[in-house]
């Protein structure tokens, strides 16, 4: 009697199933020992076992070379500000905002600013500039409010519909994807935005498809979220209109703006509210919409 026959006699399901279970580590020690003894005794069973062992796939060195496109930047820029004291953080925010927006304007400005396709309305950043007026940007290229194309409610470009009286901006509509795909359905705003551990953003869902958000700066001294409506806060975010998703904050958002800019517009608003002075900078292209608001700390509150 061969080893295989002996083993067959012990297990009516046949040797293949047992060899498979041996390979998978599914046999008890005793069963494995018996089968290995049978394999030892029988050349044919030994060959079967050898062939079974070859069916285990060996990992191949396949490398995905485009990892960098998947990597998301951590929000170092925002955290950086939290290292500063109050006045310094505000000053730094202003400097950064101006440094990034004016060169962008100069670099990408167009002679046809009125053709912008996003429907950015005149902003009303809560507590900043209910009576805001535009500052003149270089060469006075800013369009007036009337020059901004009116919102198309059904367009993916619908982005910055101001929620009346609340000074908040709605994010673009997040479309339903494959109905079978429960992962990407009705993505809430929270999922679009990376909140750093210390927290500097809050989100107010309005409807399942329409979300608003407000961002603020972490106050290093108080160690807590500073809402936009308070002093010494900074908000800045960028949205990829075509992709209908948030790009990021601060440097990350700007760093992503590498596509050719078309119809770029920059609007800078200055608050006339002496109790809550600040700047609001809006940068928009066909593809992106960015906004930065800087709230200045009133002199009498400064350290």
């Amino acid at each position: 009697m061969t080893g295989e026959e002996r083993f067959k006699n012990q297990n009516p399901q046949g040797p293949e199933w047992d060899l498979f279970n041996l390979l998978e580590g599914e046999l008890s020690d005793k069963e494995a020992e018996a089968l290995l003894a049978a394999i030892e005794d029988d050349d044919e069973l030994g060959r079967e076992w050898e062939q079974f062992q070859h069916t285990v796939l060996k990992p191949e060195a396949i490398v995905y070379h485009n990892k960098s496109s998947l990597i998301k930047e951590e929000k170092a820029g925002i955290i950086l500000f939290s290292w500063f004291s109050k006045p310094l953080s505000v000053a730094a925010a202003i400097v950064v905002a101006l440094l990034i927006s004016v060169p962008l304007y100069n670099l990408f400005k167009t002679n046809n600013p009125g053709t912008i396709t996003s429907n950015v309305e005149h902003s009303n950043p809560g507590g900043v500039n209910d009576s805001a007026s535009e500052l003149k940007t270089p060469e006075n290229q800013n369009p007036t409010e009337k020059e901004w194309i009116q919102p198309d409610q059904n367009s993916v470009h619908t982005l910055a519909k101001k929620q009346s009286g609340k000074g908040r901006f709605n994010l673009p509509v997040i479309p339903d994807s494959n109905p079978k795909d429960s992962v990407n359905r009705l993505v809430p705003a929270e999922d679009l935005i990376d909140m750093p551990e210390r927290g500097f953003a809050s989100f107010i869902p309005l409807t399942p498809k329409e979300n608003s958000m407000e961002l603020g700066l972490v106050n290093n001294e108080l160690g807590e979220f500073v809402p936009r409506t308070q002093k010494n806060s900074l908000e800045f975010y960028a949205v990829n209109i075509k992709e209908k998703g948030l790009v990021g904050f601060m440097g990350e958002g700007l760093a992503t703006l590498t596509d050719p800019f078309k119809n770029l517009n920059v609007k800078i608003h200055k608050s006339k509210d002496k109790k809550d002075p600040g700047l609001r900078i809006e940068v928009s292209t066909e593809q992106y919409y960015m906004v930065a608001s800087v709230h200045l700390l009133p002199k009498n509150d400064r350290n």
Binding site: H54, P59, K67, L70, K72, N184
Partner: protein, 161 residues
């Protein structure tokens, strides 16, 4: 999951996800799209995905993506489709590993998925079942049949050679 953890997933798992998609789709461009789509979904859902379950989450998304693509293009293989043509093509391969790699392409998708997740990723039957939406018993049977087929493929080829 934090951004740092998400990036760690990219670093650790994107190769495996790409390999998994590539093996199923046999199209580099499509596989790259699947990887992008899969990690985008992880990013969108990262607040709700724990680091410990991220790998299974990614493979599940990848698996569903691949199945959708294969169904749309009607490319899924079946055991019955394996013909002598496949065997004859394999003569050029000189070692068992190369032959098995080629033979895997001829497995039905369910068996291919199960055996790849088992061997490449080291998953147990339960996790594979969670990814593919099947029972542990079905997973085990799929892996058994896959190995049976691969063994027969090897055996027949060696007989020809």
């Amino acid at each position: 999951m934090t951004t740092k953890e998400y990036n760690q997933c990219v670093a650790d798992l994107s190769d495996g996800i790409f390999r998994f998609a590539l093996k199923h789709l046999r199209d580099e461009y499509e596989a790259e799209n699947v990887v992008q789509n899969t990690f985008e979904k992880l990013w969108v859902r990262k607040e709700n995905v724990e680091m410990a379950t991220a790998k299974a989450f990614l493979f599940k998304i990848t698996y569903n993506n691949c199945i959708d693509i294969l169904r749309k293009s009607n490319r899924s293989g079946s055991l019955e489709e394996v013909s002598e043509v496949h065997y004859s093509h394999s003569r050029q391969y000189s070692d068992a590993m190369e032959i098995v790699k080629k033979a895997v392409d001829n497995l039905p998708e369910a068996q291919k998925t199960a055996v790849m997740l088992r061997d490449y990723e080291g998953y147990d039957y339960r996790t594979i079942g969670e990814i593919t939406g099947t029972t542990e018993a079905q997973v085990k049977i799929n892996i058994f049949r896959a190995r049976q087929f691969l063994k027969k493929y090897l055996k027949d080829l060696y007989a020809v050679i």
